[in-house]
């Protein structure tokens, strides 16, 4: 078992122990905070799949989270509360959106791709603002959590928390399987040299699109979970600031490690929590930290933790 997987296991274990610590220190708020952390970890993980492994810088990833959350919100608004409808619908909606956005933006690459995904992300934001039937700018409140019957009561925060952790662990496991599968290796090869992969006869566009759709679907799942945690959805979920945050989580944690984004989500949201308590101008501090990361060290926390094993990689040419 390699060090990355050990780190992933330790991270999940640590997250699983949060409710115990919350009980021991009598800080019930921690469960709520870390449920949020774990949900954003899932979203960041989904971004790492295309950013780290396929080299696709998507600056509009928050749209899938927003779509997943809005799917739950809108279904609930129309009186459909079944969790077995909510979650599949959220995943399908965001996967379809990723299919359409990906099919167009993957025709381009590099900086075009960044700008286009950013623009599509903002499109989702402005769309949500302009639909007054579902709250428009004010957002939409959800009456209660997705209904899974008495088997799985999501309104119990402990149950919900462990559901999120189980999903995160499952996705990490699937993620490790995926990136080391033939499909994952092809993605990484495309990142290093797409032209060569094309010349070898691989339809690289399809592989990238498939990865993009998987990533969007997982991010939509994170959105559905977030809607269940906050019981409120608003356009700000899809603001480009959110997409930037997801990128920062992946970079701060360490790209192309899968566990890195999880660590990144923990660091970022903890930092945000602490800074927001100190000053209303916390985004400025985050911005400064971000600048320092870019200027002085980009391997991320996972990169530092895993440094001993780090193999010197050739720089991909995009």
């Amino acid at each position: 078992m390699d060090r990355t997987k050990v780190l992933a296991m330790l991270t999940v274990l640590g997250l699983a122990l949060v409710p115990v610590a919350a009980w021991a220190f009598d800080e019930p708020f921690w469960i709520d905070l870390f449920a949020r952390v774990a949900i954003f970890a899932i979203a960041a993980l989904s971004l790492d799949l295309i950013l780290g492994f396929a080299g696709l810088v998507s600056f509009g990833h928050a749209i899938y989270m927003g779509l997943g959350a809005y799917t739950v919100g809108i279904l609930s608004y129309h009186g459909i509360t079944a969790g077995l409808v909510h979650f599949p619908a959220a995943i399908v909606v965001s996967a379809l959106a990723a299919l359409m956005i990906g099919a167009i933006s993957l025709r381009t690459s590099g900086v075009f791709f960044i700008m286009i995904t950013l623009a599509f992300g903002q499109m989702g934001y402005f769309l949500a603002i302009s639909i007054n039937a579902y709250g428009g700018d004010d957002g939409l409140s959800i009456n209660r959590q997705s209904d899974f019957g008495s088997l799985l009561r999501l309104d119990d925060l402990h149950v919900f928390y462990y559901l999120v952790i189980v999903i995160l662990a499952a996705l990490l496991w699937l993620g490790f399987r995926l990136v080391n599968s033939r499909f994952g290796l092809l993605l990484q090869a495309i990142r290093f040299n797409e032209r060569r992969m094309n010349a070898l006869g691989f339809p690289t566009f399809r592989y990238k699109l498939a990865a993009f759709v998987i990533s969007g679907a997982v991010c939509g799942l994170a959105g559905a979970l977030l809607a269940n945690l906050t019981l409120f959805v608003s356009p700000s979920l899809m603001h480009w600031f959110r997409s930037g945050e997801l990128l920062v989580m992946v970079i701060a944690g360490g790209m192309a490690t899968l566990v890195g984004p999880v660590l990144g989500a923990i660091i970022y949201l903890m930092l945000e929590h602490v800074l927001a308590g100190l000053t209303v101008h916390w985004p400025a501090v985050l911005g400064a930290i971000l600048l320092l990361i870019v200027l002085f060290g980009k391997q991320g926390l996972a990169g530092i933790l895993l440094a001993r094993k780090k193999v010197k990689e050739a720089k991909p040419h995009g």
Partner: protein, 309 residues
């Protein structure tokens, strides 16, 4: 003169005015990208700096000219500060570095503005000489300030064309955009050139912002939405092409303005009930992105890609 024609002319002028402001933003972005190969998310911050400085200096001193010069000079200085402190270190990095670093700069700028001027919108006055309406034709009077934006914008676009195509500096800019290593080898001082190009882009963004100030709200983060629309413009026009940015900016300006003005009455005439009221705002906000998607589907390199690359 029928009411329909008046409305059409009025909305065309609105579209032209919006397009020109987008062009001033997009021109800076596309120049910076063309020469330095850098994506600058902080371009919206320069727009914001221009707007805030102009509005507050004008309010304090009563001189619009002083406000305008402070706005442009301030945006240029902040832009040069960005270039010297941050961009110089990341030119060699990949696009992800650029995106993250400039995202960080944007966060910092928005907060600094919020610290200095507070979180609420700042009132930006229209200068007295331009406060009235101009009678363009029978039945149509149009705000003089908006006409001034169109005139100034077209003049700047013309100057920019001359600068890029007819001067020595423009020649060097084009040479660097075409092959910066070769240009540097032939004796172009690329360090100074990059700072000049960045400052030029910043000045254009500042001008765009300060002209927009009385028309739109002056708030922290005001540049972000314009920035993303400018990206759409740059992508549609072809990255690195000033001419493409100009045509695409006008296209986006018209499509967006017409969508917001005419979609609702159009839908109302086609469908019964409140379909129009519900669908029109959503469709109008999607229109330019749909346009972008269509353009990219048929021409991924944009409508007018620069010939040099």
């Amino acid at each position: 003169m029928s009411a329909g024609t008046v409305l059409l002319v009025e909305q065309s002028l609105n579209g032209l005015q919006f397009g020109i402001m987008l062009f001033l933003m997009a021109a800076g972005l596309t120049l910076v990208f063309g020469v330095m190969n850098v994506v600058n998310l902080a371009h919206g911050s320069l727009y914001m700096v221009g707007a805030y400085l102009c509005a507050s200096v004008f309010a304090a001193s009563g001189s619009f000219l002083l406000g305008v010069s402070t706005g442009i000079a301030g945006a240029t200085l902040v832009g040069i500060l960005f270039e010297v402190t941050v961009f110089r270190r990341i030119y060699d990095g990949d696009h992800l570095d650029h995106v993250l670093a400039t995202f960080g700069l944007t966060l910092i700028c928005n907060e600094v503005v919020r610290m200095i001027w507070g979180p609420t919108a700042l009132f930006a006055a229209v200068p007295q000489g331009l406060a009235g309406q101009v009678q363009l034709m029978p039945g149509l009077s149009y705000p003089a300030y908006r006409l001034a934006i169109i005139v100034v914008g077209l003049m700047v676009a013309g100057l920019l064309y001359v600068l890029v195509n007819r001067t020595r500096l423009g020649m060097v800019i084009r040479a660097s955009a075409s092959n910066r290593t070769m240009a540097a080898a032939l004796g172009v001082n690329d360090v100074v050139l990059y700072t000049i190009v960045f400052g030029l882009g910043a000045a254009l963004a500042g001008l765009s912002g300060l002209m927009a100030a009385p028309v739109f709200a002056v708030t922290p983060g005001m540049g972000d939405n314009v920035l993303i629309l400018s990206f759409v413009v740059v992508v549609i026009g072809g990255i690195g092409s000033v001419r493409g940015a100009f045509l695409a900016a006008l296209l986006i300006g018209f499509v967006d303005t017409f969508g917001r003005a005419f979609l609702r009455p159009l839908l109302a005439s086609l469908f019964a009930g409140n379909v129009a009221d519900n669908a029109a705002p959503a469709m109008a906000s999607l229109l330019i992105y749909a346009l972008m998607a269509v353009v990219l589907f048929f021409r991924p390199q944009g409508l007018f890609p620069p010939r040099t690359r």
